[in-house]
Symmetry: C2
Subunit: 184 residues, 2 copies
């Protein structure tokens, strides 16, 4: 098991409202020196919510993604705000995007999207015991809400508009977790 590379220098090479691109000079334990570009996503991390609306059924939202220039079906998600607790951020995003609140919220795990150049962590939160509690969000248009059965994930992933890796990972993780609870 190798020691972590030594960080020799870090420089900001480009900046925008949302992003900061850094160049990092590294020396690996075998002496190799390289420079990597790294993207700093400003903010306090993100939260991805798996809302269980009925046994074995979850809610997805349909929202425009500027990166892919199409509507995508995804689990509700958003940024954690300054000073906001993780489960409070999950509750807020859930209410803003689906119109439901949850009486029961639990952190499942944290995932990353590109460890090679992004430090960003998204915390997956399981939301159960939903009740109607809409909250106005900052979305340019209200998201469409779609119910999906957890026992039919292959059909969901086969769609052209459900491609986001965190959503797919979270749905499988929660399906296994709920199946294990049933077995207990």
């Amino acid at each position: 098991m190798s020691d972590k590379p030594e960080i020799l220098a870090t420089r900001t090479i480009a900046e925008s409202r949302l992003f900061e691109i850094q160049e990092v000079d590294l020396r690996f334990s075998n002496g190799t020196e390289v420079s990597f570009e790294k993207l700093m996503n400003r903010g306090y991390g993100a939260v991805l919510v798996v809302p269980v609306i009925a046994p074995g059924r979850v809610l997805l939202v349909r929202e425009y993604g500027a990166g892919v220039d199409r509507y995508e079906l995804q689990l509700p998600k958003g940024r954690v705000e300054a000073g906001e607790a993780l489960l409070d951020a999950a509750q807020r995003e859930l209410r803003e995007e689906t119109g439901y609140g949850a009486r029961r919220l639990e952190r499942v795990t944290g995932v990353t999207v590109a460890p090679g150049y992004l430090g960003h962590v998204t915390e997956i939160v399981l939301a159960r015991e939903l009740y109607t509690a809409p909250l106005p969000g900052d979305e340019p248009e209200p998201p469409g809400v779609v119910e999906w059965p957890l026992d039919d994930l292959p059909a969901l992933v086969a769609r052209d508009d459900c491609t986001e890796a965190r959503t797919i990972a979270a749905l499988y993780l929660v399906r296994d977790l709920l199946n294990n609870e049933e077995d207990e």
Copy 2:
């Protein structure tokens, strides 16, 4: 179902060797106008390989991730080169990172990492019938190779160093796919 927002203007606001940050002005079908930042990842897309070394057992690689500043266990992956076919890129990355080639390569599906600001698609490729065929790569140090059983994904995801959403999604997708093949 809403019409896609109209793209009013696109501007490059920051650039580096690897990235280009664009600002996109959009008008939604309800009249709302907003500007989104979008990250253009230069290149021809990426490939993520699920190498099956023995029935129900896959290979993972342990590599330093500059974004998270730690070693991560991930499926072998890399950029597709100019003019390179998808399965050729998968074969090359597999040989470079694990020292194995595959006699059987199949595309599973394409996933995205952040549809809101990244257009980038990663194609998941299932690799079977492996044989020893190392190829020197451009990694600063040779990746460590770890074998993992597909029937123990919860223990893998529970680790602090296996967090990448595409890896988790691909492992679950392939586990289901191989289980379904067995049932047929």
